[in-house]
């Protein structure tokens, strides 16, 4: 589904990604871990199409198509979804309107009929239940006045409604208390399917107790330095990132 080859990218003149290679198939869940500044969020932003991130080398194929050539909205319409580390507040635009505009843009792109207000509301209510979200949030402006936990939950709620093929969760666990973390993780698990791939970007192993990944990758200095199964996350928890780095250095010598 997703194929990243030798991806280099920089932001504000600073080279962050220095040759990422990653292959993600439908139905798989990948965790990308790494210390601060390793390039985790940059990778997510580049995949979502943030313009201030400049790709200097490499390619990204999404279902065989050149993802990097697409506008951010076209990536979303093709089925890429990124849950933001810092969701944006949009005063004056209600959650309902925002989400309906997004969903119908995606449906139109996929050749599906646009949902009317009644069907949309039905869908929204169903997904809110799944997220254990307060129904009043839907009529409020997007993320405005939401607590940190509410914002993160809103991201996963949007994902549930928009039904992407590839979901990238950028530090969705940071700042969540354990109850909120469980709700978010349960929702993500409920959305796992053989047709959908998920990339979970996290600094902490904690989230991976609830979202069990098929693969774990360790990112350091803009490169994936180790890949393994879910046990790799536990090893990192034990030894820390610095140690992981050493292990790689030792084995490559």
């Amino acid at each position: 589904m997703l194929e990243i080859n030798n991806l280099h990218a920089r932001v504000e003149g600073k080279q962050i990604l220095q040759g990422i290679n990653l292959k993600v198939n439908a139905g798989e869940t990948h965790a990308i871990m790494g210390p601060n500044g390793s390039g985790k969020s940059t990778l997510a932003q580049v995949l979502a199409g943030r313009e201030s991130y400049e790709v200097t080398k490499g390619e990204v194929l999404f279902e065989g198509k050149n993802l990097l050539e697409m506008t951010p909205e076209d990536r979303a319409r093709e089925g890429v979804f990124m849950a933001f580390q810092y969701p944006v507040e949009i005063p004056g635009v209600s959650n309902t309107y925002f989400l309906k505009a997004a969903l119908n843009a995606i449906r139109k792109h996929r050749g599906l009929e646009e949902l009317d207000a009644i069907d949309f509301l039905k869908l929204v209510k169903e997904k809110m239940k799944l997220m254990e979200m307060d129904q009043s949030l839907i009529s409020r402006p997007v993320n405005e006045g939401f607590s940190g936990g509410e914002k993160k939950r809103n991201e996963i709620f949007q994902m549930a409604v928009l039904d992407p093929k590839l979901a990238i969760l950028d530090e969705t666990d940071s700042g969540l208390d354990i109850d909120a973390l469980k709700i978010v993780a349960n929702s993500v698990n409920a959305l796992r399917s053989k047709d959908r791939a998920t990339i979970v970007i996290t600094h902490y192993q904690r989230l991976l107790n609830y979202i069990i990944p098929d693969f774990v990758h360790v990112l350091s200095n803009g490169r994936i330095i180790r890949s393994g199964g879910k046990e790799l996350a536990l090893e990192l928890e034990d030894k820390g990132y610095a140690r992981a780095d050493e292990v790689v250095t030792a084995s490559s010598q």
Partner: protein, 447 residues
Amino acid sequence: MIDVTEEKDLYLSNFALLEKSLSGKEPAWLHRIRKEAMARFAELGFPSTRNEEWRFTNVAPIVKTPFKPTSYQPADPAAGSIERFTLGRWAGYQLVFINGQLSKEYSSPQLLSRGVQVSNLAAALQSDAGWLDSHLARYASYKKHPFVALNTAFITEGALINIPKDTVVEEPIHLLFISIGNGEATVSHPRNLIVAGPNSQTTVIESYAGVDDGIYFTNAVTEIVAGENAVIDHYKLQRESIRAFHVATLQVQQARSTNVSTHSISLGGALVRNDVNAVLDGEGCDCVLNGLYMVAGRQHVDNHTRIDHAKPHCSSRELYKGILDDKARAVFNGRIIVRPGAQKTDSKQTNKNLLLSEEALVNTNPQLEIYADDVKCTHGATIGQLSADALFYMRSRGIGLGTARNLLTHAFASDITGRIKLEAVRAELEKSLVARLPQNQKDVESI
């Protein structure tokens, strides 16, 4: 300084013609005021940009156009062209003026009950109601403001609203001034007087609209006099032709414990100047001045507001927001004066501007003049662009760039539209706003 002698002569000779046609047919007090105002205009002349109050607004295009008085240019509206601007079922009472003249055809046939007077000024002057001379032209200063002087010199028509004390008028009163281009540049000087008696309550909408893209000049003055404890909700919806000139003064005089709010919406016009002046001349007044201007192309809109806290324990709230696209220009000058002794004044003023293009330009100038020591006054102004983060967030959810821009622009304005209590005006404004959004209008039609 603009050389305006010749241009002034045009107005002087038009004035002579007006005087001749009116000779002996108007009250003596009005004739005296008219002559004073004309003399004052002759002294002041049109303002140049060296005048601090007009620093960023050059009125040369108005000065140089040889406008003819509209009264010589009767116009026949095309079918359906007026209805676009009438509020239909919304308005309780409607006075419609076409090119400065009352249109009996489009105005409501019946007067409101309970002693409420809503009539055209010409008719009221003919019967010279005794109380008129104690209010008309007593508040808007023709001594200081050249365009007020010009309007006052040419007072002939407009609306007169008189609400008796203890009277609540539930239905909004709509004053609609329509201009129809007819090949020649014309000028009209609408003059409105709204007098609300003690403990009365009323809602008034002033609309100015052009049905085509004609060149004309509207020079309007409205005086609002709020008697003790009166509540007035006032709206001004300016949708002039894109080539029109619009200069207007709203002068509000508030007695003790009055509550006056006004919302000024500027969408049309090539060159627009609005002066809104409120004098809080009694204790315990509430004053709300809100405004929204949305301009594009080469439009120029200038909003000057002045809130005069003359007495203690009054509060004022002011929020003006502007959206500028292309090469449009806007000026905001908000002055708040707190007079000596006006203690416990609570005043807040905000001006926010959204620039949609690189070439749009705003001059914003909030001014506080405080001569009392126990007051709470804040002011602030911002100029910004659409948030790149918000745009990216929306696009990352599949919303196209054009729609995302429209949604954010609309959201910026919703701060003002949301404050409009009157559904009729809010609906009209929504319609106009959506129609003016740059791209993919239909995307936001269902908001």
